[in-house]
Symmetry: C2
Subunit: 347 residues, 2 copies
Amino acid sequence: MSDEPRQPTIYDVARAAGVAPSTVSRTFSRPGRVNADTAARVRAAADELGYRANAIARALHSGKTQLLAIAVADVTNPFFFDVIRGAETAASEEGYTMLVADVQESPVSERRALDRILPLVDGLILATSRLSDSAIRVAAKQRPTVVLNRVMSDVASVATDNSGGTRHAVEHLASLGHRQITYLAGPEASWADGMRWRALREACHRLEITVRRTPPSAPTREEGRRVAARFLENPTTAVIAYNDLLAIGFGQELTERGIDIPGAVSVVGFDDIFGADFCNPPLTTVASPLRALGAHAVRTLLRQVTTHTPRLPPPAKLPMKLVVRGSTTTAPARPTDPVLPPAAPRP
Amino acid sequence: MSDEPRQPTIYDVARAAGVAPSTVSRTFSRPGRVNADTAARVRAAADELGYRANAIARALHSGKTQLLAIAVADVTNPFFFDVIRGAETAASEEGYTMLVADVQESPVSERRALDRILPLVDGLILATSRLSDSAIRVAAKQRPTVVLNRVMSDVASVATDNSGGTRHAVEHLASLGHRQITYLAGPEASWADGMRWRALREACHRLEITVRRTPPSAPTREEGRRVAARFLENPTTAVIAYNDLLAIGFGQELTERGIDIPGAVSVVGFDDIFGADFCNPPLTTVASPLRALGAHAVRTLLRQVTTHTPRLPPPAKLPMKLVVRGSTTTAPARPTDPVLPPAAPRP
DNA sequence: TTGAAAGCGCTAACAA
DNA sequence: TTGTTAGCGCTTTCAA
């Protein structure tokens, strides 16, 4: 259960095998550059002693650890499950080990975590960083970095095609006869939120649909419920939420209040997270290619890591796909509330 | 976006500040043991050069990184969300940073991941390891280690009180008039599965309830659906699943086949994962204290890390709590199938 | 093919 | 309070 009895080093192995430490090193780091018999002897001695190469000492010299890290703002957010999974798999295929760091909410703890982790890894993926662009640049200067769902001019990035996805959602609702949409806004600082709202306004304008949005809110189920209460003071027949968590909470609240989804209100989410297919009713949502997002980020990162290219790859934009489930249907004949205030600009 | 222009070291800072490298080291690693003015000069120089201490070099010497790791078999399993969260928080409170490693399924990749990570961390939490007891012992010899939901004689462990939890579930069903229970078994190698099944048999015996179990299955929703199909060939009025994922899949399949839950079949899960409260119907489940599990593991670990105690703390057993939701109700008057084969021992 | 020896960046005696 | 000097465990010239 504890450590204490000091791990054997190459020196111990060397002594046991009757060779020089450098030979032991070679045996493990570049087999082939050592006589087969010698190597066998060394390996035998190593096994005997229970020797395991100390990756950290090796890294000190080479600067390479074969470790990659992905920093997320909240491991508890199911959005990341498959992103991490995708990153994981892609990294593993290339012989890298992926570390996940939950950098909590605050930029302070994010900084601290990054300070500790950066020197240990060969590359970094920043998913939903709370850091400012300039702080990210500092990190990116230390290690190859890729940001997820955020586009920066001088750091490689991988994002989803929010405009396309939003358009799909609006067209779907339009085809069901909805003429009014409420957008349940996400966090103020979210890049994706801005993208989605902009695309939404454009698409609605084009299709002559009235649209407005709620004040910014954290992307959680609890917030979804809270927003629902306010929504009811002035409802529309259709709702698009910043993400599935918000949509699910919103739906729960409405259902509990006896309001039928999708009969009275159609709801569309974003991302298609775990749970979107088995909530009640199953959620129509604009699916993010979560695994692909993670995998693509890793590949982009590894390209920087292996080739020492200072050239910035163009920002990747992965397509989103509308998944129609049970939370959307044709607009009710008599809208709950035909009179809508115009979309007001947010302060 | 890349690294290249070599990071400045204490030597660079020392030269710039006109002091010795060790002074630079001290200003950062043990402030107070250096003159305020000197320290200020050093810091200024460091800022100027953009110096950041290289944690890995520091670790090589001190052996301490302030890093902890938790290895999980599958980040994608919502069971871990809150466990990780709890561990995260507890670690952070003590000034440690928590790393999460997804060790995929195979013991091989788990080994590889651990080899790379162990030298970097001050302690390790093994949640759902696929490793053999002896392999775990090897790791535990390298670094303080705590295993989660698995009890070993010579490695510290934190688990849930599966017996108690199972008993609650059975008593709940018994009080609703159920006389027959099917247990949807989990993975064959799962320690928790064994515990739950054993407790289940005992509790049922005591309450004179007939019980049987399905063949082992992976704890996924897909498997839950598959098991449901077989269950219907020979149903009971109540079902207890190895975990919520299995229970949710099971419920989905039954619902789609037009079988009413809980009207025809009552379903109880384990763990109370994300989603258990918003699936349809909301799932009655034996809740694991997920966050507490993670937090407790960290505290146990840190005790080993800080005091170099070779003494093994007794295995912790955290209580489970039955959360009654919509998936259980009184047994139907005429059981779907009154004749049950006796619980057969598994091969 | 193997060994000797010089670091990688930092910390920690030990002196001054 | 500060500087000098060994290392931590490993890799890597450079010779042999």
